[in-house]
């Protein structure tokens, strides 16, 4: 096995890719589609969190992931990578951001560089699937707060106390029961003793 593993040489997407194609029809054909995706990737790198239609987000996410991983693997002195970055980032100051901000941020990242959530759907409206696409490690407030798992949250403190009380009460009950049965057995034994002695 002296041959280098091909999978290690090519950057691999760290996200799931849906098997069915995403419908992004465009009057200009594939070219227009790519233009749209370029705009989206640029927006994602610029704003770090954007909300857009689900299919567009899903497709643009893959390109953004690939772009960042290429940048990490090859660095900014690699000509083809630079060309790719030049193609995908319409605002040229973002190329600096890609190599000087995002690459150091994600160098040691083991997971995907982006996150995507399904946006809430309004109750009565056209049914358009929206998604929120963001870069990991952005400075904005997080979309999913996991405060409910925080032990110091007041509800959790109260619940813990209630659980503790309940458990203590149960223990006391059990202790009472055991004590009673022991007493009864002792009484029975003493009665038997009395009978035998008679």
């Amino acid at each position: 096995m002296n041959q280098a593993q091909v999978t290690k040489l090519v950057s691999k997407l760290r996200i799931k890719v849906a098997p069915e194609p995403r419908r992004l029809r465009n009057p200009k054909g594939p070219e227009g589609r790519l233009d749209k995706l370029r705009k989206t990737v640029t927006g994602l790198i610029k704003f770090e969190r954007i909300e857009l239609n689900f299919n567009r987000a899903d497709e643009a996410r893959q390109y953004a992931e690939r772009l960042i991983s290429e940048a990490i693997v090859h660095g900014d002195c690699h000509k083809p990578t630079m060309e790719i970055a030049d193609y995908w980032l319409l605002e040229k100051e973002l190329i600096h951001k890609l190599f000087k901000v995002l690459v150091p941020r994600y160098e040691n990242c083991n997971t995907a560089f982006t996150k995507m959530y399904r946006a809430p759907r309004p109750l009565y409206s056209r049914n358009i699937e929206k998604a929120v696409l963001e870069l990991r490690g952005n400075p904005y407030p997080s979309l999913i707060n996991k405060q409910y798992s925080n032990r110091h949250l007041i509800q959790n403190v109260l619940l813990d106390a209630a659980k503790y009380d309940y458990r203590q009460a149960k223990y006391a009950e059990m202790a009472d029961k055991i004590g009673k049965t022991e007493n009864q057995e002792l009484n029975k034994l003493s009665k038997k003793d009395e009978i035998t002695t008679e």
Partner: protein, 196 residues
């Protein structure tokens, strides 16, 4: 109807002829005189829609009644394809943070609105500050009354501080900043981690 009426008349005529034949012909004087009156010369015109509308026009209208099946399909839809009846949703969850309801597998609407408005504010601030300069530094957001976390100088080399001119929202945890800070080893008190 008319044909049946004519048939009855024919029947009666035949009956009359038979009866009269059995008694022989009545005398000529008693014969019924048929007076044929000539009607107006032009015969009654056939009905035509053109007489009513003239040069105007008419809209297309349905010619036949839709079957009940089709009407019900239109009204209620079809369960396999588009079902238009109101169906209870079974994928509603209660948000663990704010208690509002949201669909399973989706962000909570209430929480998201809050986060979205704050995000937009920060984004606007960042864009305003950065302008068109090449972006070479990572961004750290500080709210009013917050101090720069104590960090070694190397940490600050590649950072750009964005100051928001308001206090940090209660729900926006400081965890982002706490992740990289290290508490001095001498302190013994436990601080809540995720609280605002």
């Amino acid at each position: 109807m008319i044909s049946r009426f004519g048939y009855i008349i024919n029947l009666l005529k035949a009956l009359e002829r038979n009866v009269l034949h059995s008694f022989g012909h009545p005398p000529r004087e008693l014969a019924i005189v048929q007076i044929y009156e000539r009607q107006s010369s032009n015969p009654p015109k056939k009905f035509s829609i053109k007489d009513i509308i003239g040069d105007g026009m008419l809209l297309a209208v349905p010619k036949f009644r839709r079957t009940i099946e089709k009407r019900w399909k239109r009204k209620f839809g079809s369960p396999e394809y588009v079902w238009k009846m109101l169906v209870p949703k079974t994928n509603i969850k209660v948000c663990q943070d704010c208690g509002h309801h949201h669909e399973r597998g989706r962000l909570c609407g209430n929480c998201y609105n809050r986060v979205e408005s704050e995000t937009k504010e920060i984004q606007a601030k960042i864009q305003e500050k950065l302008g068109l300069n090449p972006i070479e530094k990572d961004v750290i957001v500080l709210y009013e009354g917050e101090n720069v976390p104590e960090m070694p100088n190397e940490f600050w080399e590649g950072k750009r501080i964005i100051e928001m001119k308001k206090e940090r929202p209660q729900w926006f945890s400081k965890n982002l900043l706490q992740k990289s800070t290290q508490q001095p080893s001498s302190s013994k008190d436990v601080k809540p981690t995720d609280l605002a």
